[in-house]
Symmetry: C2
Subunit: 240 residues, 2 copies
C-alpha cells in the first residue's frame, strides 16, 4: 500500500525525499563525517528539531543513504549486465563480466563519498540493519548471474584444484540461499573475486594507487579480466 492518501502524506514523502537529496548533496560535497543534520535543516529552511520528525537520528538518515547507495551501484551493475545479450561464447561472458566491473568502477569514481559510505569503514556505532543486506548483494548477484548463464551455456571451465570442505559447505549453503545452479567451487571462488574486485576499487578510490598506478583504466581492465579467469571464465587472448 503505497497509496498517498492525503496532502499530509504527500507532503511528508516529499519532505523526506528533499531531506535525502540535500543530505546526499552534502555527502557528495564533504563526506559522511561532515554531514550535519543542522546544516541540512538550515539549507531546507526548517528548524533542526523538525527534521527529527522524519529521521529519528543522524544514523537513521545515514542508513537511508546507505540503502540508496547500494541500490544505485546495484542498478548500475544490473544495467551493464542487461545491456549485453546472454553470452554464447566465453569471450562474450568475459565481456559481460568486465562490463559489470567497469560499471561499478565508474559509479565508484563518480560517487567516491557514497562509495566510501558503503564500502569504507562502517559508521561508528552502527551495524548493518537487515534492510541493507539485500541491496548490498546486488552487485555480487549480477556477477554470479554471468557465471550462471555461462555455466548454463557450458562455457565455464570448472577449476581443477579442490577446495577445503567447509568452504564448499559455505558455497553450497550460499547457492541454495540464492537459488543458483553453480558448482560450489565456482561459487566459492566468485565470492573471493567479488571481494577482490572491491579491493581494487577501494585502493583506487581511496588513493592507495597514487604514485603507484598511473594507467588506471587498462590496469583495472586487465585485473578484472584475470579475475574472470580465476572463476572459470578462461578468456582467449585479445589485443590491447
Amino acid at each position: 500500500m503505497t497509496v498517498i492518501r492525503g496532502a499530509r502524506e504527500r507532503a511528508r514523502s516529499e519532505i523526506t525525499e528533499a531531506i535525502k537529496v540535500e543530505a546526499r548533496r552534502q555527502l557528495a560535497a564533504e563526506g559522511a563525517a561532515k554531514l550535519s543534520l543542522r546544516a541540512v535543516a538550515r539549507e531546507l529552511g526548517m528548524a533542526s528539531s523538525a527534521l527529527y520528525r522524519y529521521f529519528p537520528s543522524r544514523d537513521e538518515l545515514l542508513t537511508a543513504l546507505i540503502v540508496d547507495a547500494y541500490d544505485a551501484v546495484g542498478r548500475a551493475a544490473e544495467r551493464a549486465r542487461d545491456a549485453r545479450p546472454a553470452p554464447a561464447t566465453v569471450e562474450q561472458a568475459v565481456t559481460r563480466w568486465c562490463a559489470i566491473c567497469t560499471a561499478v568502477r565508474d559509479w565508484a569514481l563518480a560517487h567516491p563519498h557514497e562509495y566510501a559510505l558503503i564500502y569504507g569503514s562502517p559508521v561508528p556505532g552502527y551495524q548493518a540493519p537487515r534492510t541493507t543486506t539485500e541491496p548490498a548483494a546486488r552487485v555480487g548477484l549480477a556477477l554470479i548471474g554471468v557465471l550462471r548463464d555461462a555455466h548454463a551455456a557450458g562455457l565455464l571451465t570448472e577449476p581443477a584444484d579442490p577446495l577445503p570442505e567447509d568452504v564448499v559447505a559455505d558455497a553450497l549453503a550460499l547457492g541454495a540461499q540464492l537459488g543458483v545452479e553453480l558448482p560450489p567451487t565456482v561459487l566459492a571462488r566468485s565470492v573471493g573475486a567479488w571481494a577482490q574486485l572491491f579491493g581494487l576499487l577501494s585502493f583506487e578510490v581511496f588513493g592507495q594507487f597514487n604514485r603507484v598506478v598511473e594507467a588506471r583504466d587498462p590496469f583495472f581492465h586487465q585485473a578484472v579480466r584475470q579475475l574472470a579467469g580465476s572463476v572459470g571464465l578462461d578468456a582467449p587472448q585479445e589485443e590491447g
Copy 2:
C-alpha cells in the same frame, strides 16, 4: 640527532607518547569518529588547550595514529616474512606469501578500528601527507620481496599472456623506484594482488562476509593461495 637534551624534551616526548597511547585506546574502543581531543586530555588530567602544544589539530593526531598503524601492520608482515628462510622451492615461496597475508589478516582482525583508519574511508578533509606513503608501502614491499627471492631462485613462472603497454610502463617505473629486479608483468600483477588482498580483508573486517562466508580461515587461506598463483607462484597441490 635524537639525543634528549634536557628534562623538557624528555617530558615532551613522554607526554606526546602518552597522548598517542590514550588516543589509540579510544580509537580501539570507539572508532576514529568518536576520538575526541577533549576526552583524551580529560583522561590525561590536562586542559584540552594544552594538548594543542603537542598536536596542532585533531587531524594531525589522527595522522600520527595512521603512521603508527601502517608501521604496525608493516612490521607484522615483515616479521612473518623473516620468520621463514628464503624459499628454495615454490611451495616454500607460497608458504611465505601466505604467512605474510595471514599475519596482516591477524593484525587487521585484532585491530579493526586501526585497520579501518588506514584502509577504510579516508578521514574527511585530509589527504595523505608524504609521511604516510613510505610506511604504507611496507606490506606491499614484503609481498614483492617474496616474489623477488622466488625470482632470484628461478622459482617464478612468468605469466604468459601479455599486458597493455602502459601498464608495463607503470610496472617498470615502479620496479625502478623500488629497486627490485622483477619482470614487469609480475610486478603489475602483484600490485593487483596487493589491492585484492585488502579487498578480502576489508570485506571480512567490515562485515560484508556476514551470513555469506562462515569458514573464514580456510576461505582466506584458499584465496591468498590462489592469489599467489596469479602472480606466478604456481603451487603444487596440498591437502586441506
